[in-house]
């Protein structure tokens, strides 16, 4: 490689290097580091605050989560319709979740039974925090169709 070739290669290397670096930088800039959103995990009071059989809507507005108390314990349902992402409503008289957008319906356990949705509602990680409160993490999901509802954190055992 003579001097002229070297300068040629170095010039193109610098040019494309600059373009590539600038592109990577611009793409990285588009990924925010700070989110002004609700934290993904939240505490939902003490287990004894809940009545057996209830679908608790206290955390629906803020976190889009229903907390359901059964005789054996708790599970948390994400209030996002698995059809196209609207927020379903809990209809106590009909004992079902009903989406106002396209009419998808789910049983109390989250299993779909009517409307266009192809799959059940998603359950969230539900555990007990150190202070004894219920802790729900919206970032950890359990999908029925992947047989994940039987995993330990998908259901909080509590009979007290």
């Amino acid at each position: 490689m003579n001097r002229k070739n070297f300068l040629n290669v170095a010039g193109w290397f610098a040019f494309f290097g600059f373009i590539a670096t600038a592109t990577v930088g611009a793409l990285r800039l588009m990924v925010p580091r700070v989110l002004y959103e609700q934290p993904s995990a939240f505490k939902a009071g003490f287990p004894s605050d809940y009545v057996v059989g209830e679908v608790n809507e206290k955390y629906k507005d803020e976190y889009r989560v229903w907390i359901v108390r059964e005789a054996e314990g708790f599970y948390a349902l994400l209030a996002i319709c698995t059809h196209l992402g609207c927020t379903p409503r809990w209809l106590p008289a009909e004992i079902k979740f009903k989406c106002p957008c396209h009419g998808s319906g789910y049983h109390k356990d989250g299993i779909n039974f009517e409307g266009p949705t192809p799959r059940p509602l998603e359950r969230l990680k539900i555990t007990l925090a150190d202070d004894g409160q219920i802790l729900v993490d919206r970032n950890v999901k359990f999908l029925y169709e992947k047989q994940e509802w039987s995993k330990p954190d998908a259901f909080l055992k509590y009979t007290g």
Partner: protein, 263 residues
């Protein structure tokens, strides 16, 4: 009176200023008419001459031209709307209501923008349909068809990003539903094929970058606003220039095949 007007026009055309802007006279010769087109930055994208059939509306439907006209309408009304609209969650909806209720000619501008946007999507489709029916995508026009496909997607993206800006329930939920599709993007979406294997999560995939968050929120409004008003129209304008220029380079506007049958 007319004589006075003619004299004034001739005087004006002889001034240094006029001649520095317009190089050619109105002399009706083939050469001069061609030069007038060629030396004008706006007209030079157009062919200097067109064939007789190019003016036949029955063949072209004029859909490409109508689409471009609508783009100009949208640009002008859009810029006017920008004088009152602030793309922040606290203001956006109120500014839209202000435009519709208290700004002089505000409703006219916003409705023109809305209807022209709907119409543009339709005319782009019809233009594409016509090009397909007349076989105008065939060589040597393959490249221009591809440019057209990019322009179609840009039109749809412009339509989609503009949909969010009123910041009402319809806008937020429509965009929520629409952007949920991005979750299923192959490789780059956290619910798409190979997404999880590549480490995609809800807070680092392509949908997250598009929304500026894990859900449609104030950062999404700002992002869509910038895309809608700056980024997409800019790319669209460049591609349109290429699109129009290529028509000429690919042998002018396509017409009926006059070689195969005696017309």
């Amino acid at each position: 009176m007319l004589g006075l007007f003619d004299t004034m026009r001739e005087k004006m055309q002889q001034t240094e200023v006029y001649k520095s802007i317009f190089r050619h006279t109105y002399q009706d010769t083939q050469r001069n008419r061609a030069l007038q087109i060629l030396d004008n930055v706006f007209l030079h994208l157009h062919p200097v001459r067109i064939t007789r059939h190019a003016t036949n509306i029955g063949f072209t439907w004029g859909m490409g031209g109508i689409t471009f006209l609508l783009f100009i309408v949208l640009t002008i009304t859009g810029v006017i709307l920008m004088f009152y609209y602030r793309p922040a969650a606290e203001y956006a909806y109120d500014d839209m209501k202000y435009l519709m209720n208290d700004v002089a000619f505000g409703p006219l501008m916003r409705n023109m923008h809305r209807w022209a946007a709907h119409a543009m999507v339709i005319t782009v489709m019809l233009h594409m349909f016509r090009v397909f029916l007349t076989g105008s995508y065939k060589p040597p026009r393959q490249f221009n068809w591809v440019v057209g496909v990019f322009l179609l997607t840009l039109t749809l993206f412009l339509s989609f990003t503009g949909y969010l800006l009123p910041w009402d329930q319809l806008a937020i939920w429509a965009v929520t539903v629409g952007t949920n599709m991005a979750r299923a993007t192959p490789f780059l979406g956290h619910e798409g094929p190979f997404g999880a294997e590549l480490g995609m999560r809800i807070d680092n995939d392509v949908r997250f970058v598009l929304l500026g968050g894990t859900q449609v929120g104030p950062p999404t409004l700002l992002r869509f606003y910038v895309l809608h008003c700056i980024f997409l129209p800019l790319i669209g304008a460049v591609l349109m220039a290429v699109h129009f220029w290529r028509i000429r380079k690919d042998g002018g506007i396509s017409g009926p095949d006059v070689t195969s049958k005696k017309a």
